[in-house]
């Protein structure tokens, strides 16, 4: 399950990659608004970043708390390169700026990664945390390079236009990002099929044993770290082009935490998991944060829920259900799924009402005692509202728990049936 394969047959692989390309090409034709334009561009950037992070987390078993160091420093170097082009001192096309970011990523990964990858496991995680803090502290010290509070801004319409492409309009930037996304995803997938990529999986599984089959685990980690740094840098460089401004926040702990969280949510055990994670990351940061002030809290709840009940992330949920579906057993449990969905939604409404009321009390008390929540008017000073939302939440939770237990029984029955089916086919 955790070998990084889409499908064993090449036909399937062609279909999937073509579909991926078509989605990238057609997305801006379907979602035409300004907002969706920037969202799509950011998704491409996030996908590359999360996939590069998963080279460490999912494929190498390296829990990094400082991946934003490499995306962020890639961004800074890229924006400086862009400004040098604008000043006429550098003559490379703007479309290669992300590669500049990528090489910056390699440079910093070679330098900082040497120390980081000396250790594995918990010490590795600690060192990444230390390096991240170090770089963030430096970003406040060296304002020439990091631009201080205001950051560094640039203008992507620089140098000579190539075939009339100036990168002024958002669409042109989107397609540049889409091309980079496609190529980077393809290369990172290819990486999982190479000797180094496979030995990296072995190092994740059992580093001690790898030492006894001729490989230096430290060097395997180091090389993987540099490769992850390269793609992180490309992602950072694309970010610099997209936003035309880079602030110290891009190397911050919050950004690093975001990569970890969403790579995990998407699913670190499958190659395509972080792609889902990257898409979710942008949706959460752009849309969810517009919807509610308490969005980080909801995100935290979701993360908690996933770690406890689906540690393989969304990708593993998909793959598990595909397996069930391929044996034609999905129809046995879809009613349970519906029930789980409805009850968890009810619980969420109750919890959401309370969370929103608390936020209202703390932040918007001057706007009066009432707030609108999903069409209902809640009064933060009234017992009824609190009692009502508590009741809704507890009812939802209770029903959810009952259904969950029922579901687990059904699920394990189905797994047993599938095992039997496999045995039967083997002997047949």
């Amino acid at each position: 399950m955790s070998t990084y394969k889409f499908k064993p047959y090449n036909v399937g692989r062609w279909v999937i990659w073509s579909m991926f390309a078509i989605v990238l090409i057609c997305a801006p034709l379907v979602f035409t608004s300004n907002l969706s334009g920037t969202i799509l561009a950011q998704m491409g950037i996030a996908i590359i970043a999360c996939l590069s992070y998963n080279i460490l987390l999912g494929q190498g078993g390296m829990l990094s708390f400082g991946h934003a160091v490499y995306t962020g420093l890639g961004s800074f170097v890229a924006i400086h390169a862009l400004n040098t082009i604008s000043a006429g001192q550098l003559n490379i096309p703007v479309s290669l700026i992300p590669l500049v970011g990528g090489f910056a990523g390699i440079g910093f990964a070679v330098l900082l990664g040497y120390v980081t990858t000396k250790k594995a496991g918990t010490p590795f995680a600690m060192i990444t945390l230390g390096v991240a803090e170090l770089v963030f502290a430096m970003s406040l010290m060296f304002s020439e390079f990091f631009g201080g509070e205001a950051g560094i801004s640039g203008n992507r319409v620089a140098g000579q236009a190539f075939w009339g492409i100036t990168f002024g309009p958002q669409t042109q930037v989107y397609y540049l990002i889409a091309i980079y996304t496609f190529i980077c995803v393809a290369i990172m997938y290819a990486f999982t099929q190479t000797p180094l990529g496979r030995i990296l999986n072995a190092v994740r599984d059992n580093p001690e044993r790898v030492e006894f089959i001729g490989y230096n685990t430290q060097r395997v980690r180091y090389f993987a770290f540099i490769i992850a740094g390269f793609f992180a840098g490309i992602s950072g460089g694309l970010g610099a082009l997209n936003f035309e401004i880079v602030t110290a926040e891009v190397v911050g702990a919050g950004r690093s935490g975001g990569y970890l969280l969403f790579t995990f949510l998407g699913g670190a055990t499958f190659f395509f998991g972080p792609i889902i994670g990257g898409i979710l990351m942008v949706l959460a940061f752009v849309l969810l944060s517009e919807l509610t002030k308490a969005w980080l809290l909801y995100l935290g709840l979701l993360f908690l829920f996933m770690v406890m009940y689906a540690p393989g992330g969304i990708a593993s949920l998909i793959m598990m259900n595909l397996r069930v579906a391929s044996f034609g057993k999905l129809k046995q449990i879809w009613v349970s799924y519906l029930g789980l969905f409805v009850t968890s939604f009810i619980a969420l409404i109750g919890a959401g009402a309370m969370i929103e009321m608390v936020y209202h009390l703390q932040l918007n008390a001057t706007l009066g005692d009432t707030l609108k929540f999903m069409g209902a008017t809640l009064n933060v000073k009234s017992v009824d509202s609190w009692f009502g939302s508590t009741f809704v939440m507890l009812t939802g939770l209770g029903l959810f728990e009952v259904l969950r237990r029922q579901f687990l029984i059904e699920w394990s029955d189905i797994q047993i049936e599938i095992e039997k089916e496999i045995k039967r086919r083997e002997t047949a």
């Binding site: 399950m1 955790s2 070998t3 290819a190 990486f191 099929q193 190479t194 000797p195 180094l196 990529g197 496979r198 030995i199 999986n201 072995a202 994740r204 599984d205 059992n206 001690e208 044993r209 790898v210 030492e211 006894f212 089959i213 001729g214 490989y215 230096n216 060097r219 395997v220 090389f223 490769i227």
Partner: protein, 256 residues
């Protein structure tokens, strides 16, 4: 002519405790050696020293005439020595095929390359298939190692150990935890896959020892007190005193 493996006055301290106290051993190429001894005699420590897991406190280890006592495990492995573990030590989330392929990659010179596809490495894939048949796991090719039975995992452990093509093989209690019938089948397997290689194995089961070994080395309190053919070792007075004698002594204490 140099020995395949030679230990010269090898010593190892853990803190103030001396575990290996001047071990000497010289194994000719192609010999099958069983290392026996009471619990805590230092058999596994000896393997750990030879394979580079620990560095010795003093003394020399020579592999085909070259000093290896200060080398890392992967350097020693590249020089042609490979070992298995008493507690199964495989790659649980990789398939049987991938487990074995990882083990052949270095010996075929692929090193850390990321510019070649695994599927295109015909020599590595063919060799992997060959080893997979050898250890009778070709029917479990795509099963994750963690889903194998215990005996299959032990076979995979041996497979990973021999797949790198090393000439000196160290097996640490290869049959531990196996049933009688599994053990006898397994001994035949070990004999088969280590043809022409120098084999050192730690074993408790005397049936395995006499079935497998050309020579027996007896380790007691961190020293090799005897190293000879099975018959000679059986009649060795020192061995009887130190190793078998302890049982006699125990029985006498129990009798009074």
């Amino acid at each position: 002519m140099s020995y395949a493996l030679e230990l010269k006055d090898l010593r190892k301290n853990f803190g103030k405790t001396e575990i290996i106290r001047g071990a000497n051993l010289a194994v000719n190429a192609g010999e099958r050696v069983a290392i026996i001894g009471p619990n805590g005699a230092g058999k596994s420590t000896l393997f750990n020293l030879i394979s580079g897991r620990f560095g010795p406190s003093s003394g020399e280890i020579l592999l085909n005439g070259q000093n290896i006592e200060h080398k890392t495990p992967f350097e020693i492995n590249r020089m042609g020595l490979s070992r298995s573990f008493q507690i199964t030590n495989i790659f649980p989330k990789l398939s049987v095929f991938e487990n074995l392929r990882c083990a052949v990659l270095w010996s075929l010179g692929y090193k850390y390359t990321f510019l070649k596809f695994l599927s295109g490495l015909k020599d590595a894939n063919d060799l992997t298939e060959k080893y997979m048949e050898m250890i009778r796991l070709d029917k479990k090719r795509d099963l994750l190692a963690m889903n194998l039975t215990y005996a299959e995992q032990r076979a995979l452990e041996i497979g990973i150990t021999i797949a790198g093509g090393s000439n000196v093989i160290l097996l640490d209690e290869p049959t531990s935890g196996m049933s009688k019938s599994e053990t006898s089948r397994f001994i035949n397997l070990i004999k088969e896959v280590t043809v022409g290689k120098t084999l050192l194995t730690v074993e408790h089961d005397m049936g395995v020892v006499f079935g497998l070994a050309d020579k027996i080395a007896v380790v007691v309190y961190g020293e090799v007190i005897a190293f000879d053919t099975p018959e000679a070792v059986r009649s060795n007075v020192k061995v009887q005193e130190a190793y078998l004698g302890s049982h006699v002594a125990d029985a006498q204490v129990g009798g009074h």
